[in-house]
Subunit: 348 residues, 4 copies
Amino acid sequence: MIGIGIIGYGYWGPNLARCATEAGGCRVVSIADQSPAARARASVRYGSVDVVEDWKTLVADPRVDAVIIATPTRIHFDLALAALKAGKHVLVEKPMAATSREASILIEEAEKRGLILMVDHTFVYTGAVQKIKELVVAGVIGDCYYYDSTRINLGLFQRDVNVIWDLAVHDLAILDFALGISPIAVSATGAGHIKGSPENMAHITFYLDGGATAHLNVNWLAPVKIRRTLIGGSRRMIVYDDVEPSEKVKVYDRGVDHDGDVENSEQREDVYRMLLNYRMGDVWTPQLPVKEALLSEIEHFVECIGQRMSPLTSGASGLRVVTMLEAASQSLRQRGHPVELTGMRQAS
Amino acid sequence: MIGIGIIGYGYWGPNLARCATEAGGCRVVSIADQSPAARARASVRYGSVDVVEDWKTLVADPRVDAVIIATPTRIHFDLALAALKAGKHVLVEKPMAATSREASILIEEAEKRGLILMVDHTFVYTGAVQKIKELVVAGVIGDCYYYDSTRINLGLFQRDVNVIWDLAVHDLAILDFALGISPIAVSATGAGHIKGSPENMAHITFYLDGGATAHLNVNWLAPVKIRRTLIGGSRRMIVYDDVEPSEKVKVYDRGVDHDGDVENSEQREDVYRMLLNYRMGDVWTPQLPVKEALLSEIEHFVECIGQRMSPLTSGASGLRVVTMLEAASQSLRQRGHPVELTGMRQAS
Amino acid sequence: MIGIGIIGYGYWGPNLARCATEAGGCRVVSIADQSPAARARASVRYGSVDVVEDWKTLVADPRVDAVIIATPTRIHFDLALAALKAGKHVLVEKPMAATSREASILIEEAEKRGLILMVDHTFVYTGAVQKIKELVVAGVIGDCYYYDSTRINLGLFQRDVNVIWDLAVHDLAILDFALGISPIAVSATGAGHIKGSPENMAHITFYLDGGATAHLNVNWLAPVKIRRTLIGGSRRMIVYDDVEPSEKVKVYDRGVDHDGDVENSEQREDVYRMLLNYRMGDVWTPQLPVKEALLSEIEHFVECIGQRMSPLTSGASGLRVVTMLEAASQSLRQRGHPVELTGMRQAS
Amino acid sequence: MIGIGIIGYGYWGPNLARCATEAGGCRVVSIADQSPAARARASVRYGSVDVVEDWKTLVADPRVDAVIIATPTRIHFDLALAALKAGKHVLVEKPMAATSREASILIEEAEKRGLILMVDHTFVYTGAVQKIKELVVAGVIGDCYYYDSTRINLGLFQRDVNVIWDLAVHDLAILDFALGISPIAVSATGAGHIKGSPENMAHITFYLDGGATAHLNVNWLAPVKIRRTLIGGSRRMIVYDDVEPSEKVKVYDRGVDHDGDVENSEQREDVYRMLLNYRMGDVWTPQLPVKEALLSEIEHFVECIGQRMSPLTSGASGLRVVTMLEAASQSLRQRGHPVELTGMRQAS
């Protein structure tokens, strides 16, 4: 039975605590939060769990085998490093760290000590993303042409990170897991509309290995909530709409078959003639499992600890995502000037 | 009664012919098309109209007072210039010309001869875009923060222009008309997935005068048809969904009011506290007139000829749009490298 | 080449004329309408067609082999009977006649003379309804449990018929064709909200042979347009949404498998336990052909004339539909009191 | 501080317990359930609450001032009566009782003892239904023409009640509260498709005082979840879609204005002419409060106890709803034969 300690009981912490309670193979033994109000909420909810002010108390607690960190990004590094140094396994909130350098140090520390280091890329554990990966791996979409995501709403503005670090991080985690392709350059644009706040809107294009592209549209200041990703392939295309209550993933047997007409056609009306080569086939909506992603993720963390297995969302994936976030932010500051990304992934 | 000649009876020409027939104050006297099949279709449909092979015959026809040009973009310039030189008013398909230089020459020629030169930016004449302009001018949205448009479908690939010149042109015409703001730089990315075809997918960010941005997502290779534009403002936000059969324009009384909290708040949980400053008000869907846009446009053309009035979509607006298309294409070839746009608009 | 005469050039007539012009194997030779304005519209549009005031002129025209009747329902019988007696094939607008007695006489007359008598149940010729029939026949849905249709909008109030005769007629034609099952009783309720108008809202339940039911919700005074039919089966269920631009027919692999639990379960919480027997499978959206239904229908009419073949929507189907309309209207007047329907269908 | 006891911790009980914990002015002191599993769940969740097997223990507990009953309908009466006789206030799950006679006895008992008797018609406490009532009362929709509701999904089949008692009860509670109109007759049809189960599908029309009608379409065996109600009025119409995450209530300024044309028009083309009298105005989507309905309801219960105030969903409303359910079930067994409902409401 793995003993779990949770640092941070603000917005996301209560969800982690609930899932860690429900998950098999582990139990929550301690929760730390600086805020008295947060501690009061935790105490009422979990009568039998130690609720402490200082995270150092939690990290020092010998009953704690693994630490889950759900604090603002800027202190992920300090907490995770301390926990690893105390011999604890770590599951850290996304984004893994504030810089790729920090992420690298954490990976090294975990490896040195033989500890599990995992990043909470929750979407990777959803039935939808698991299904998309399955479809991609099975060749259902063929060659991947593009990933085009819109992730916008009237959201919580954050102070210490811009919208890229808050919302685009989800897409980068999905890309890293489901498509397993390596970015080679990025161009990002964006703007901040609220004085004193970081950028609340950004559009980011990643040029991927092999000619594909990924585009992310993220926005904290949109009137409607949209969570929709298009994945275009040579054989089929996927629409993943996370706002849909049940039909989240649709597979379209649509595309254009180019049997030479494009280049050879000399007719003046070729544009209409070409219509004949468009493929407009059926749509298929696979039924998805309904298990809560966060619960699956915690159970995976516990299993990885037990089996000394590398998690699906390991420190290495966390580092790749942070590296992409850094490059995107750099391009954003230069109005879309492309930034190279090299050597990010040795092997997928 | 203005005599109208139409050059090009392929994809769009029949719509122009139909509307020019229905519109008051004008009549179609001649249609020219190189293709025998197109001429046959025109003859069956319009028994009493001259249907000719050579556009020069049409331009030389003394009954023709005004020429409508609905041919591939690459020959817009030659045809329009010849028509103007023959003393005809001209309504030319979008985009106005293949280069800004060509567009400038046409404007000059029309001005010199006192002829009306108008560009078929059809969307400007829709009830939806007219309503949006009305809302913007009336201050309903406040300061414009952003324009964010998705215009994608499984579309007709074109050979001589990329997707920007085919689809983004609509948004640029809407931007030019409804927001009346001047771009100062552009960053565009994109890709071509079909060998031998131009780019079929692009994402374009325009940095606008005054801090606003405009983003266009255009794609010929999408599994679903989306035509949705978000316009974010300091007071309200608009969602314009052109695929909706009746509720195309919605005005959201939503946003974030920043009364200093963002900067001053020192609380650790400020992110939740700030929620209090979010404004989530009513939504209002104005009823739109149902008149066909193209018919309104043709009637406007005829009225401008009669009154020697500058059209809403004059040659000058056509030039501004072509200039933006050129700059976007240039940035696209450089993977998002920003391209400056200066002195585009003297007065809105 | 079948010569076609069209009586009535009001709302639907122009569509019939257009499709009869496009269809192979026939040509429109005459159009009759009492209204000078309608005749003017027809003349402008069809220069080479005789446009006459008196339908008797059209029926007497020896070039007319077949007559299409698109007039108010109350005169269908007189016109169709006169046309048949003049030896013309007849395609009559829905509903076929104002009473089942009239419909029977027309069938008899056509049979006696060996003429084709067909009813314009347009929906039967749509790709969607053809696909639904195909799915039903192939056993994809299993036993049919129910047909539940909502067909409402802010529609044209009619003077001579209530909403059942205007809107429910479509569903009855679809039911008759696609499910091929026989009603045994009907209960209908409804109301008229506009003084001097017939009922503009009705809800009709048909009890069908074999235990299935069909329910129709029709309304001329609804704020939104809905055209959605659910077909529940023992194996799968269909949702047919005619307002959807492209994904009109969806097949749901959903239902409940009753392996005895319902009856035997003695647990107090059986209601939750039973959840295990629910089937929530994939959704499949077949691509549908895009050919215009009315054009297919006219071509079918012409083919039936040429081959002396019984049409899919023969006089007999028209009679069955009118019989159901009569019974529903009778029940409606009695506030839902059930009305028996017997011997409606000898053989499907 | 009102002491609350909750009988039944199956499907709905946990929600009641959670809200009674969060609500001000009361605290949960005891939970009773026969099932050991349910008791175990309650104990884990509420460490400090007495969890007992026998409801009689709970009712006898002197700390319990008010009892909330969340058990199968068939035992509502016994439990509620016992609680009232023990001097406890009662909040009982919908439907209030299995028969109108039972409901009447409960009302009498509560009145005799001066106790609050309230029915859990949860929808009445939603922001959406509160807004609808507000709009109706303010005359925004004018005279009510109809209420037309579709409430279907692939739902939990129940053993002891048919779908009317499970789903239509919601609409009847809304009707009773928001429209405050009295039914005079009902016609209901339906079917059971699963052997051994009660009817899982029903269509019910209530004829209301003053000429309006209410129709309810309820179904446990539908492939998709629909929760949509149309309310047609002489001035405006409402669409209430409870599946919509945020825009649940829309007010349509649409209808038909009948200025005598319908009766007097003698033109043959009156049907098109009448189009001019259709009103197609704006749509307005009021923002709704987001407070959880059940929490508001519990707080209302507590307030009613404190103030000896009659609840919005009093025993009397529960009785009216049960009476309508009984009449609908009676008509259902007779294939739609209308059943009279008289003297149901003395004063709204």
